[in-house]
Symmetry: C2
Subunit: 498 residues, 2 copies
């Protein structure tokens, strides 16, 4: 019965014999984007439904660290308490650089200006921040602290583009996994607003009218096919496509070099495909987040990365998701992190980083790695000579991380692409306006359709510029915009365009 449907082939209204249910706004996916869209839509008075394919709320957001990239307008309470003043223009410039060669200026501008207000909104929903700052470099706090350096703010070239400020805000909880806390808070708000949720329910297809406007969805749950009318809009918040390996192969095959997609099973691209099927444009489909979480301990940032030819390729003090991105662009699978006795610490176990070679001299390490004489050693010599002078003219690693690697024994940590942990997810998706409206490739809105989160190509859209907290910032903030505008039936969007 359901096999006749495909996400990319919308059903025509004339083929709908009856509506099983009607709502103003139908939201597909109950992760952070869907939850925030629902809260805003319901608050605006819209009769709202959430459709979720899993048996509970959360999606990929709940699997994350829960960090949200926040700042600007002088700073959040956590930033101010730690002594940082975060200017809106610095946040704007950072996000523009992080967005890469096609950063979305309109979204970045809006987010930079309203990020602090967004922080306050999150707190009003019940998200608790301890507002404490941990200055050490880490993936996420293991304590219940709040603020961390979660991007490349202090690293070149970002540090040249914008005054550095930490902006990763983690909900208060002990241990990793703040995303679950965040989602539970948002889901409680959704419940308090009385928004119904259909769990274990997939969207088979969107329904379009004669004019091509989206006016409903065909659902599948418990063996039944259900036709739901959306009087005002459908909002796609269904995640990315990293779990659809065939789709990854056709759009972002470089990511297949890593065997570690991260996300929930729902990240199968169905949200993006639903949007494409009704005329939505998918952009930057080749881009992805790729990490190599080699710190904490931050001491290893004082080491240097080299590829299989013994060449450096990145300033090691940038965000681990920028390091991972550049590692994945290197030819061959061999990637090494070089350390001496002084900077060596055991990398995190989950990073699957072993020891490839060790020795009393870099010549010995070079030989053990079967690199031609004069390759790795020349790289280390040049690095050491400049590090001793406190500079890194080739890669611009900041002075605080520079130290000659001259205290034996020396070690080459094994960060092979085909063995170490390179978690990745997709960044390409539907093009949307800051209102959340899905647009076609002339940037004309597809009537009745909104999207948010990784179903869209949002603030994060360039692997080399990713920062932790950007996806949740994008999902929660633009999920809200979508919910609010969809609830108004597009009237607010029309006013703003006028």
């Amino acid at each position: 019965m359901s096999s006749e449907y495909s996400p990319t082939r919308p059903v025509h209204l004339s083929d709908v014999r009856h509506w099983d249910a009607e709502h103003d706004v139908v939201i597909v996916g109950f992760g952070a984007a869907g939850a925030c869209a629902a809260i805003e839509a319901a608050t605006a008075g819209a009769d709202t439904l959430i459709v979720e394919r899993a048996s509970s709320h959360g999606g990929t957001s709940a699997l994350s660290g829960g960090e949200i990239y926040l700042g600007g307008s002088g700073g959040t309470p956590a930033q101010r308490q730690a002594g940082f003043h975060d200017d809106t223009e610095d946040l704007y410039r950072y996000l523009m650089l992080a967005g890469g060669p096609d950063a979305d200026d309109a979204k970045v501008r809006l987010y930079a200006e309203q990020s602090l207000a967004h922080h306050d909104w999150l707190v009003a929903q019940g998200v608790t921040y301890k507002n404490t700052f941990l200055p050490e470099r880490m993936v996420e706090p293991e304590t219940d602290d709040c603020l961390i350096w979660s991007g490349s703010e202090e690293a070149w070239p970002f540090s040249d583009a914008a005054k550095p400020c930490p902006r990763g805000h983690t909900p208060q909880m002990q241990g990793w996994g703040g995303g679950r806390v965040l989602m539970d808070v948002l889901a409680a708000r959704v419940a308090a607003l009385g928004v119904p949720v259909r769990y274990d329910t997939r969207v088979l297809a969107l329904i379009v009218d004669d004019a091509g406007a989206v006016c409903g969805a065909v659902l599948r749950a418990y063996g039944a096919t259900v036709f739901v009318r959306a009087r005002r809009a459908v909002i796609l918040c269904a995640g990315g496509f990293v779990m659809n390996r065939d789709m990854v192969r056709r759009h972002a095959p470089t990511l297949l070099r890593s065997a570690d997609p991260i996300g929930s099973p729902g990240d199968d691209g169905s949200g993006i495909r639903l949007g494409i099927g009704v005329g939505g444009a998918a952009i930057h489909m080749n881009e992805g987040f790729v990490s190599l979480p080699f710190y904490a301990p931050e001491s290893l940032i004082r080491g240097i990365f080299v590829n299989g030819r013994g060449q450096r390729f990145v300033n090691e003090d940038c965000y681990h998701g920028r390091t991972g991105h550049h590692a994945l662009q290197q030819p061959g699978d061999r990637i090494f992190l070089l350390a001496d006795q002084a900077v060596f610490r055991e990398p995190p176990a989950f990073a699957r980083i072993g020891i490839a070679a060790a020795g009393e001299s870099w010549e010995e390490v070079e030989r053990d790695l079967q690199m031609p004489a004069g390759t790795l050693t020349a790289t280390v010599d040049t690095y050491n000579r400049h590090a001793a002078a406190g500079v890194d003219p080739l890669f611009h690693k900041a002075a605080k991380w520079l130290k000659p690697l001259d205290e034996p024994p020396f070690v080459a940590l094994d960060c092979r692409i085909d063995y170490a942990f390179y978690p990745h997810f997709t960044l390409g998706g539907l093009d949307t306006l800051p209102t959340g409206q899905v647009v076609d490739d002339t940037r004309t809105p597809v009537r009745g359709l909104y999207a948010a989160g990784r179903t869209t190509c949002g603030l994060p859209r360039w692997g080399a510029g990713y920062s932790s907290g950007l996806s949740l910032a994008d999902a929660t903030f633009f999920g809200r915009q979508a919910g609010r505008h969809a609830a108004s039936g597009g009237r607010e969007a029309l006013r703003e365009a006028a």
Copy 2:
């Protein structure tokens, strides 16, 4: 009047009040793909129309060198005459590697097996090959000779994957620009077959029926809007999207690093957009061909390329389109080609390669380039030491091109990304079956729609693997498949699928 139409928004059959013309097959674009599609469709008895936006035939094919990548089945006459035996499996393996991580096995297999027959078909149409071989490395022959090394066949890793054989076949003519000769021959055949052509005519939109099948097109010519029915199929042969810089920005922004798109004004993406609008899947939209045509003279292949950090990044004996691709992936705009007195020759003027620095020692050159001491010199030292022994352990340049760069004076040729000539065009496009049928993202054919040439993602689909002649091979061969299958109204395609 025409502003109501958009390539991505198909017109519904019910909105067509009358047909201004009817044909079995309507072909969009009169480059090589369109011409070959028309020849096959007309030969099969289909009433065929070509629609061309320019005032004459040719498209981007006519601007090219006219090289076609041909071989296999033991070899073409030119290959055999030059003493080469080209095994089908070697052609297959080469094309699979050239196609990158998502090479289209079905297309590669079909092409490898039928490439020799395709050669004979081209000759039967009137294309003349002198069947002589020029062993020197060049972009295209300046004489009326035929066969050249037009890819990376002799270069690592291709030389490991398949027995090297030259496969670039250029039509007989003096000077560059064999594409015009090729197109004139094909256009003469089209005319001889009595295929009508509407010049100066754009396709505004495709027309679809209730079932979503393509059944016609809305045209615009000389101020009039014309509705043309396609009884069997529309074939999109409308080129790529490199001239649509906005589209390049959204899908392949790395290409914007070069200011030299190559193609005709028709490469504006409209063919791809027409396909997307009716459900066709566009894949690998970020990929592009990027060249740095630094040879002939081939002597410079004995030099070495370095980036702004003094690091090598490619084996210099590979095809110039692989070198250019890797140059574009380097950080920063500075790219240098290092040569000594023995290997230096004047690069081609159109390559806009000047001299950045020269000196009696590499230390002097390094200093002049303002590179830190020990960077460029270490690279040259390692290269020279191994070149003297006839090996290149880091990049695997073939022994015949290895020579220590130790004869002063030395020179660093300036190949800046933002100044030198890096011609580029797009490789992403509509996904098609070997029959030419456009497919959606489940690989289900869009009924009534075919495509060929750079409107599709074909044999060439990976910048790092491009070889000269691949686009025309793909366009002519799969243009023919599309024409033949479209003429049969899909019956042949159905038989083959059964």
